[in-house]
């Protein structure tokens, strides 16, 4: 029954519109809050703060909910910096792409996968991430995908099976056989190791019909759905996601007005991944069009060794503000509450009553500093309530 009081918070962002300034940010100045048994039980003015066993003095700094990174590919081996270097110089260089990471990951021991993933989870945590999703998709065999999901489960309660990431080399000439594997034995083995199923539905990846087949089967086994959609070209993936009530469509760089209309009327979140667009020098997703239409937007790192080796949500926020025209508050909300909605969770991403006591004390007087001081890690103290 130990309670912790965080007091002298210069600026508290709760993301609870019933609190503070009653905006989406639910912001209070000179505030305090109490976490008891891992949950927020009191929020208010510092002057009214109750006593508690443990007191943390925020010394007038800003406090925000822990970041929710709702899209990562953290379980991998190897690196592809040569491919990145070539791409940045406009050179045509086929290092092998995802297939190369598949080979390296298959060849890695489980303990190497765990330690590599742990290192990246720690980097994310040190930058303020307290909830994260992790996908499989770098082994593409039944046993390998199960192994990836098991490694991911050490670090996350939101584990996503991405057997339909790419068609692996050995099925290059028999795509149909790979889809049979994916929707048959692989999914059967993976389903109880994952909360979510995802498909890379794009030009050169899986078609909308293939994605529908995989996701429908996954849904029948009780998995929640998410979809890599329209990163490389426009397609019908967003309509599919809405049709199947997916929690999130991710990337969504190439979108038409009707896609935006569909999302605005649905509970499917648009998860934007500017780290990928930064690292591949691609156009950014049109965040303003989503926001202005009332679509719920999340921001995530997409951490992976090919297109976005990013382990900082602050960096993602800075890009969203500078290059996607989001305001600092919109970006902060999308990196916390938006990420939580993309995972259909109401216990994280905010600091309203009953929220998990996951918060970040910033080395800054205002949360806007996350975008104002780009490239820095301002997370002075990251607290994550035990589950």
């Amino acid at each position: 029954m130990s309670a912790t009081l965080v007091r002298r918070v210069g600026e508290l962002t709760t993301n609870d519109p019933t609190l503070g300034d009653e905006t989406a940010m639910g912001r209070l100045c000179d505030a305090a809050f109490v976490v008891e048994e891992g949950r927020v039980v009191w929020v208010g003015s510092d002057a009214d703060a109750p006593d508690a066993d443990t007191v943390i003095d925020a010394e007038h700094a800003a406090v925000i909910p822990g970041f929710v990174d709702s899209h990562t590919h953290l379980v991998f081996a190897g690196e592809r910096s040569d491919e990145f270097e070539a791409r940045m110089q406009g050179l045509h260089y086929d290092g092998g792409g995802i297939t190369r990471t598949v080979s390296a990951t298959r060849a890695a021991s489980e303990s190497d996968l765990v330690s590599g993933t742990a290192r990246r989870v720690q980097q994310l945590h040190d930058g303020g991430v307290t909830t994260l999703e992790i996908k499989s998709g770098y082994e593409l065999t039944t046993d390998g995908e199960v192994r990836q999901l098991q490694v991911a489960a050490h670090f996350s309660n939101d584990v996503t099976w991405l057997g339909a990431h790419v068609v692996p080399d050995e099925f290059r000439h028999d795509r149909h056989a790979y889809l049979e594997l994916v929707t048959g034995p692989m999914l059967d083995a993976c389903a109880h190791h994952a909360q979510w199923a995802d498909v890379f539905c794009d030009r050169g990846a899986f078609s909308v019909d293939e994605a529908r087949h995989v996701l429908t089967r996954a849904k029948s086994l009780g998995l929640g759905l998410r979809l890599h959609a329209n990163q490389l070209a426009h397609g019908e993936a967003i309509a599919l996601a809405v049709e199947l009530d997916a929690a999130s469509v991710d990337h969504v760089t190439y979108v038409e007005d009707q896609d935006i209309d569909l999302l605005a009327a649905a509970s499917t979140v648009a998860t934007l991944l500017p780290g990928a667009e930064f690292s591949t020098r691609s156009p950014y997703s049109p965040a303003r069009r989503f926001l202005d239409a009332g679509v719920t937007v999340a921001l995530a790192t997409d951490c992976n060794p090919g297109s976005s080796y990013v382990t900082s949500m602050s960096f993602v926020i800075a890009l969203a503000v500078r290059d996607m025209m989001m305001s600092p508050d919109e970006a902060l909300w999308s990196a916390t509450k938006g990420g939580a909605q993309a995972l259909r969770r109401d216990d994280v991403g905010h600091l309203g009553f009953g929220a998990r006591g996951d918060f970040v004390i910033l080395d800054a007087p205002r949360a806007a500093h996350v975008a104002y001081r780009p490239g820095s890690n301002l997370a002075a103290r990251v607290e994550r309530a035990d589950r």
Copy 2:
């Protein structure tokens, strides 16, 4: 006479073209080097490494020269995140600009200025910066500018007097009188506290004739010259810098072909500050045009509370690669050796024989990871030789 051997360096960047692969990066694999009395005395293959009193095992990581940040405004008080927020939302908001920082800095105690500057220097150092320049320009009185230079001298041997930063409010109606102060009593008092003189020569700032007047007088007192040039609009500042043999022209966003020709034939370095362009959502300086013409390019943070609150050279490198089309190697060189040349120093920015033993062990197998993993601080160990 204590010697330190750094061994098992997976990839060593020396920036000395007589070493290793004999490119500008002077790169060696499986390398080692020895620092004795603060200087590099041996560089070679790990297999040939001599004995030493102290051994640092780089464990196959990449090692680079410490970053040289040749353009900062670190001595300030206050913050302007509200101005940043408004700017990012396209709102017209006159928070006061530089004048606001001038007011806050004038009002700050010397100990507060020292501690604030120390904090920012520490952030830069933790990210791998081992040499930095610091400008005055936020007090704009004779005593105040002397005070700023004295604070800067705690942290840097490259201190720059920037009395001609803006015309302060109290001289708003008598620009001529401020120029008389700047070129008269202020410069007389400041000259022996600084190594460099700088002028903000741009649209809305000081004219080319005014800058010539200030810089000529500063040069006659033995100061080296640098110039804020063409950040906001095209002007004749680059021609002036070359005419006066300034060490560096900084920002240089708006340039004509004849400017580039002038710089290519001169020893004046073009110092690019993409953090400012990121934080003000301005066009980036045309780095490729400079590089392709043979101009020496430096990269720096421009750390200041108005237009670039950036304390990470890695972030600057990532922007230079992504948004200025520099290769990862070009950006690394510009952030080390380029910065040294912008300060006309040959003792830092490289790890050739006789260089100061300032180096960074990266948490990465290759230096290209600095750009490949944007938003992260990969500086696992930063060593700065005592002077």
